[in-house]
Amino acid sequence: MSLVARHLEANGVSTVVMGSARDIVEECGVARFVFTDFPLGNPCGKPWDQEMQRSIIGSALNLLDRAWMPRTTIQTPFHWENDTWRDAFMRVDDGNREALARAGEERRRRQAEVKTGR
């Protein structure tokens, strides 16, 4: 996604990336970035919250208009109801370590079966 935005910028089309995976977008490097600090899935505002969605697209259009150099980032002022998602997402701990290892093995076994046509 960020790579496509870069391609457009290099070819004369102005872009804005809206997203919640800050480090991935910043690692790639984009012209303009609107960051909303939400769990992944709703970078343009909470579901059904039209007022918040209007604010976020408004910020993106403002940024389009006003940015004068690449790697310009703004962060919208919104917060999720709580912070539990921060630690919970893709968590690895003693409670799930064995289950994750088994799931990985199982998945590789199935993929190998598909490949060998068994």
Binding site: V16, D23, V25, E27, G41, L64
Partner: protein
């Protein structure tokens, strides 16, 4: 909440996903694209005269029966923005399925919100189509396949600017 924190509040998805897949026994971590320099095109005309488009990482909702039957196409696509899509396919993407949902398309592809901006005169017009680039972990397929295709469609539709949103 305000406070004092010994850990960063902002989740690092690079760290998190690397550790998660390592725990599943995948020893070679995914390598993310890094660029020192970033191309930049200033907006070429007043915003109120610009035609603006949208790009999403979500996919088209597959026809009945296609999921799991090998019929799921993951290449770039263009679809009419009017009537706006009532739902898009996100089941196969990397997002927080415990914390939230994607039932409201405007929460990740603000197609109705962009139409409002055009009606209100903030932008000149919204693109008649929106575009999809379902996440492809092959950077060369993205750079050499999807990127030029999206650029071609943007030119066909006469766009001045594009808003991207990644789930």
């Amino acid at each position: 909440m305000d406070g004092l924190r010994p850990y960063r509040s902002f989740v690092s998805y690079i760290d998190r996903s690397r550790e998660y897949y390592a725990a599943q026994g995948y020893s070679k971590p995914y390598a993310w694209a890094h660029h020192d320099d970033v191309p930049f095109t200033p907006l070429q005309k007043p915003l109120s005269g610009c035609r603006v488009g949208l790009v999403t990482t979500a996919g088209r909702t597959p026809a009945e029966g296609l999921i799991g039957a090998g019929g799921l196409k993951r290449g770039p696509y263009a679809e009419p923005a009017n009537p706006p899509p009532k739902s898009l396919f996100t089941d196969d993407l990397f997002w927080d399925k415990k914390a939230t949902h994607t039932d409201d398309v405007d929460s990740f592809l603000p197609v109705n919100r962009l139409a409002e901006q055009a009606n209100g005169g903030c932008i000149g017009s919204a693109s008649p189509r929106f575009y999809g680039v379902p996440t492809d972990y092959s950077q060369s397929r993205t750079s050499q396949g999807a990127a030029p295709k999206i650029l071609e469609w943007c030119r066909e539709d006469g766009l001045d600017a594009v808003l991207f949103s990644a789930l």
